[in-house]
Each structure stands twice: as structure tokens, then as C-alpha cells.
Symmetry: C2
Subunit: 240 residues, 2 copies
Amino acid sequence: MSSQKLNVCLSPQLISSYADENSIIVVIDVLRATSAICTALHNGAEKIIPVVDVRVARDYLNKGYIVGAERNGEIVEGFEYGNSPLVFAGEHVAGKTIVLTTSNGTYALAAAQMAHQVIVGSFLNLDAVSGWLENQERDIVLLCAGWKQKFNMEDTLFAGAVVSQLQAANRVLALSDSAIAAEILYTKAKDNMFAFLENTSHRNRLRTMNIEEDVRYCLTPNTTSVIPMLENGNIVKMNE
Amino acid sequence: MSSQKLNVCLSPQLISSYADENSIIVVIDVLRATSAICTALHNGAEKIIPVVDVRVARDYLNKGYIVGAERNGEIVEGFEYGNSPLVFAGEHVAGKTIVLTTSNGTYALAAAQMAHQVIVGSFLNLDAVSGWLENQERDIVLLCAGWKQKFNMEDTLFAGAVVSQLQAANRVLALSDSAIAAEILYTKAKDNMFAFLENTSHRNRLRTMNIEEDVRYCLTPNTTSVIPMLENGNIVKMNE
């Protein structure tokens, strides 16, 4: 049995039970923070500063930064952008520093900071993340941002997709029960994730906000090979 | 859409995100605390006093109580019983008060105490628990004790079994994502849970302890109609 562990942590609140300073953590917030981060870096943003506090985000806004601020799925009042990835998919972000605060994703990033290395995953960079993980020796924790500390389906499906790819690559890993569960859920959902997620909580939440286009975008695999990584508190593109 | 919620909470550490003083909580620790509790009450034990601290359990032991004390799957040194349900399956428990402290189950019971009502579930009383829940109006939280705050498979499968039965009974409930996930896992596992759990973490842990018999016992559904409930800090049989 391998001593290298592949864990899935289903809520940021549980991270200290799964990870320590030797771990690699993949932060996952498919709808929509980590999809937005992948999109911004793919479009040439220089870095992303994740902040937990909206007041800090407002300070950056006042200094002229591009700022995304989302709470409960909505753009925070006074900001131009929320966490929709589509608004970061253009030349206007090239070379820029972007500041981001979201309900769950930036909290998960903060919770992950103690790890040896933190990268950011979404379906948009699934193959890139899985391929990079294949060559790592450390214990891996796939951290689902969830929704306000609760389990959510879409982040778990992405975690399951990574487990599935690492298994397919014949990586010998000790899977946690949560990793086994995530892979089973992904296997059931993968042929039509959009339909599978139809009745889940966050999809319902987002449906009422009329952002179907965002959801379809976020569920599209492998539109970028960018791997965002945390470095000194900022998120930058890993060198290829 | 129903306003009555059916939630699955996958770790006691997350309970405050799922439940409040109006909730019904079902505490689940299939291997083995809640199976032991069902067994003891089925065999006529008058009540069970769950205690979190081993030192408190030792005080009771010194006073002559029947005490089960388990940590990390093993009987705590100085105690005769751990959390194996088989030792509570006899006439020697009839009319007695039993004190129990375990790694995860008694912690989950403590975490659940703020709820309106707390009952105890295991495969042994699956139909009884589901049948009783069918007639409740309050929000329901199926609380998986897990393993040291982590997700575990066997508790999630039981939660999924309850979700499945409530759905089959045409109860209209708003399912959390975790409830949907638990039901999918249970549906996949139900035809051979013993084999399904073969490679999961806690089964592996228990296998090295040579307690296959316990596991098979704990996975046998509906051997009792007893519903244990928390009352003033003790666990007693609900009146039928």
C-alpha cells in the first residue's frame, strides 16, 4: 500500500484534519471563484490577490484595482465585478493585478495557506492540475470550498474527476473514504454534469440569478493549461 | 418545493452549519458506537450514559457500572468492554445502566445536544428510524460521526439508506447536496455493503483488529425496532 495519500476535504472547516505544512492542497470552488481565477490568469492577468474581507477589497477598489467581490452569489454593492469568470475573459485583464473576495473560495484559500504548496483547480484546468499532481510525491488534499462550510456537489465532482485521472494514470495512492466517494459521484455524473447538478443546492441558487451561461462555462473541461498557485499570499501562474 | 429539509452532516465539526435548536438529529456511528447503543437497549438496558472523557468513564467503572470505553478502535486499558456491540447482546445488560465513551460516537452525541430531539441510528434499527422520521415535521439532520472529524463511508451509507427510505415513502423533503450524495453512494453499495466497504479506511483499521464478526453484525439491517433517544443527557428507549 502506498504511503502517499490522496484526500478529499469536503469543507474548509475540516482542513486541519486532512492537511499539514507538508501537504499539497488543491483549492476548488468550481462555481465560480476558482474558475474565475483560472480564467483571469489564462487571459494574462499578472496576479490575483485573494482577500477575505470586503472592506479590504474596497480599499483596493478605491486605489484603482480591478476587483471582483461576491457574497451569496451576487456582486457586492459598489463593485463592478463579482466572481463570474466571464468578466475576466478578455484583454482588459492582461498584465493587471486583480483583487478577489468571494463567499467561499477566498476563505478556502486562506484556510489552505499553511500547506507546503497550494494550487487552484477547476474543470477549466482539470488535465493540467491532474498532470502536475501525477508527478508529485507529497500527500495531496483536494479541498472543496463548499458553500458556507457545507458540502457541495460541484466541488466534490471536480475532486472526483482528479481522483479518477490519477487512478487512470496508475498512480498508487492511498485514497481517503472521501476520495473514494468523490470518484463514485463523478463517475455517475460525468456524462452530463449539467443535468446531474440540476437539482443541487448551489445550481438552484444560481438559476434564480439567471447565470446559466456561467455554469456551462465553469463545467467545460480543459479550456486552459494554466495552473494558478499561491505565492506569498498572491495567486500567480505556475511556470510551465 | 418542500420547506422541510433533510440534511446529511458529514462531520460533527460541521454540525452548527446544519442544525439548530429546532432540528431533529440522528446520530450515526455504525462502526460501532450507535450499533452498540441499539443492541444494549434492545437487550433491556435501562439507559446509556454517553461520556466524552475517559476519566469520567473510569469514575463510573470504579462505582461498579458496566462501562464501554473505546479509543482508536481498541478497548481502553483498564476497561473490560470497548464499543463492540456483541458484548452488549445478552441478558447481563437487562435493567442496567451502561456508560459509554468512544472515539467518535459520543463526541457526535455531545455535538448534537443543542437540537430539539436527538435519536440514534444504525443499520440495526434502520426501518424503525426511517419510519419514525416519516412522521416528523421538523428539519432533519443525519449526523455522521465519521472518524476524528473526517468523512467516513459507513456512516454516510447509513445516512443514504435513510434518505432512500424517506424518498421511497414519498416524503417531500428538500435534500441537501450531501443527502443527494449519500443516497447515490448507498444505492451503489446496498447490494453488498460488506464488499463495498472492503477498501475503506475504517474497515481496514478494524480488519487489523480481527473484528470481522462485529462488522457483519453492524451491517445487518433491522434486527431491532428500538429507537434510542437522548433525554437529559442519557440515552433511553423511545416509547413505542
